[in-house]
Symmetry: C2
Subunit: 358 residues, 2 copies
């Protein structure tokens, strides 16, 4: 079991990563404070892990709120159901929400905790690789609006994050790969040595080797925590965590958020961002091909859907990271170092978009 | 025109108080930043002041969202309408919500600004005395849940507060008095000299003398800002702002939030809190009678509804300020100084409740 301390000044918390966390009563007792606990999860995860978590919390005051599974339920209305449960179970200001599930559960439950009584504690217990390396860390919570993803939300840091790598054993291969996209992202934007390590350990990761997964999650969280620590509210540098996300967002939106998992769209977006970085002379073709090779070996798609360059550009402009109509992009100044760029030749961007989206 | 600087460390903002603010283009230009502005107001206030505010913002990108009037609309659903408008008008991260109205509008609009894109700016433009002296300052925002008031919300400090005392000319007498209840509260908990001033100026205040109102609002905001500055998230001392509110909450709940305005219930609650303070030997009967006299002269009710002591106690226990089932009360250690008390003889509280609620 590995731990990692996140320090944001006003808020400190520990991330615990490893096999067997969910069954570790002592760990859960020390990491989860509060007198009234509300487990928020979904139907799929409840079937797999709810009984185990409840058993480990035996003797405490625990309620549960089981949501339908799927991104289409990540709405203000669903957050409203969580509020109903919190009120109904008389959860007080010293109550704690336990978010047991993937990114969708973590985002809804975290948002509900952020707003209930103007903020109660939340412990993230992510059960997908994507949630373990990304969404459970950093305090971004929220729900979607028909006009866009995550348009309603809050910054609300968890009290603790508990990532049990055993839960990855039940994760479909496709979702494991989607999580690896974000892992590869951290290497691209912040750590060339981690890219080397990923090159050497991709088979172990896809084979769900606990040691390899634990290291990959730990290093990913470490990189994310360091960046969030510098810029919690995304005034500047935190934006580099969006490497691949602006292109990826356009891909998800153009395919009605149905064809690709988020991580898959991010993988395609990273390829485009790498390609555009090469187009601007920031990285060379060899660097771009290394990213492409890693994503392929992680089982991720590498060919964008042919939705048309004009449509893709319009959708990129609608992304909420756009400031005053200007599309800022996260590019690579070299392999292992991301930068936010808002000045670039529009023509060059259009060329890249045409190459990928036709 | 008077100004007051609020400094919370991570957030500073100015409160401007006086006659003619809404028509002062230069003031609004300097106090309201942002490229896209969304005025959130209600049908009543829109009829009176929307055109004036829009005229003063001429030349800027301004949209509006007009909500139905009334506390019964302070719901998550109404906040959802505000989100719809913000998305529909493509308000970006540098957009700003202008809350034009009383406490209900300020709470909903502030909450929507807190959550939209995880937080955009909000300028509070309160048009009732209660909102000018209380709800617009301090960053508490939120909506009600059927299970309780303000159960869903956020701490979100405004970018600025602009209190135009001219708007009080259209305020019904009863609402003016309700606002005076909170003004008297500040004297009770923090400033005996302010109580003297109120004693000498009550006729002017009820006669809507601009100079008297401006001073009363300024001093009230100053006291509130100082307390919030010490304890933004109500971990401790901020709770003294709830003087009269726990008793008042029970009165509102017992009468279905229909019979009394919030300020009226707080006035009754302050009388009870003063009476209980006397019962515990903290203040003498003369102090209690001074508060009673001030509230009477402010046009406020001084006789509680006979809802029964047992029911009142049960409702007090449901207040969200209750920690782990224990009712903390704000009492007066002397006239002009509030304290939070969690240890007191339960019998004594029951005696006080029986005296007032029968």
């Amino acid at each position: 079991m590995q731990t990692l301390q996140v320090d944001l000044g006003h808020s400190q918390y520990r991330i615990t990563i490893g096999s067997g966390c969910l069954g570790d009563r002592a760990l859960l007792a020390s990491e989860i404070p509060g007198s009234g606990l509300m487990i928020v999860t979904n139907t799929t995860v409840a079937r797999l892990y709810l009984a185990k978590l409840r058993a480990s919390l035996d003797g405490r005051n625990v309620s549960e709120c089981i949501l339908p599974d799927g991104e289409q339920h990540k709405t203000l209305q669903t957050a409203g159901w969580v509020f109903d449960e919190l009120v109904g179970k008389k959860i007080n200001r010293d109550g704690v929400v336990l978010a047991l599930g993937g990114g969708v559960v973590g985002d809804i439950a975290g948002f509900a905790a952020a707003c209930y009584q103007r903020g109660i504690g939340c412990v993230q217990i992510p059960t997908t690789l994507l949630a373990q390396v990304d969404s459970s860390v950093g305090g971004k919570t929220g729900v979607n609006h028909s006009g866009g993803k995550n348009l309603i939300g809050a910054f609300h840091q968890p009290l603790a994050v508990i990532a049990d790598t055993d839960t990855l054993s039940t994760l479909p291969d496709r979702e494991l790969s989607a999580g690896l996209a974000e892992v590869i992202k951290y290497g691209c934007i912040a750590d060339p040595q981690f890219l080397d390590w990923l090159d050497s350990n991709m088979e172990e990761l896809r084979g769900r080797d606990v040691e390899a997964l634990t290291y990959a999650i730990h290093r990913s969280c470490e990189i994310k925590a360091a960046i969030v620590g510098e810029d919690e509210r995304e005034q500047g540098r935190r934006a580099i965590l969006n490497f691949g996300h602006t292109f990826g967002h356009a891909i998800e939106a153009a395919t009605d958020f149905e064809r690709y998992l988020h991580g898959e769209a991010v993988a395609l977006g990273m390829l485009m961002a790498a390609d555009f970085s090469r187009e601007l002379g920031l990285i060379d073709a060899a660097a771009q091909q290394r990213i492409d090779g890693l994503l392929r070996r992680a089982g991720l798609p590498t060919e964008a859907p042919k939705v048309g360059a004009a449509r893709a550009l319009a959708l990129m402009r609608m992304d909420k990271k756009v400031l005053s109509g200007k599309v800022r992009l996260v590019l690579l100044e070299r392999l292992g170092s991301g930068i936010v760029v808002s000045k670039y030749p529009q023509r060059a961007l259009e060329t890249t978009l045409r190459e990928h989206f036709a």
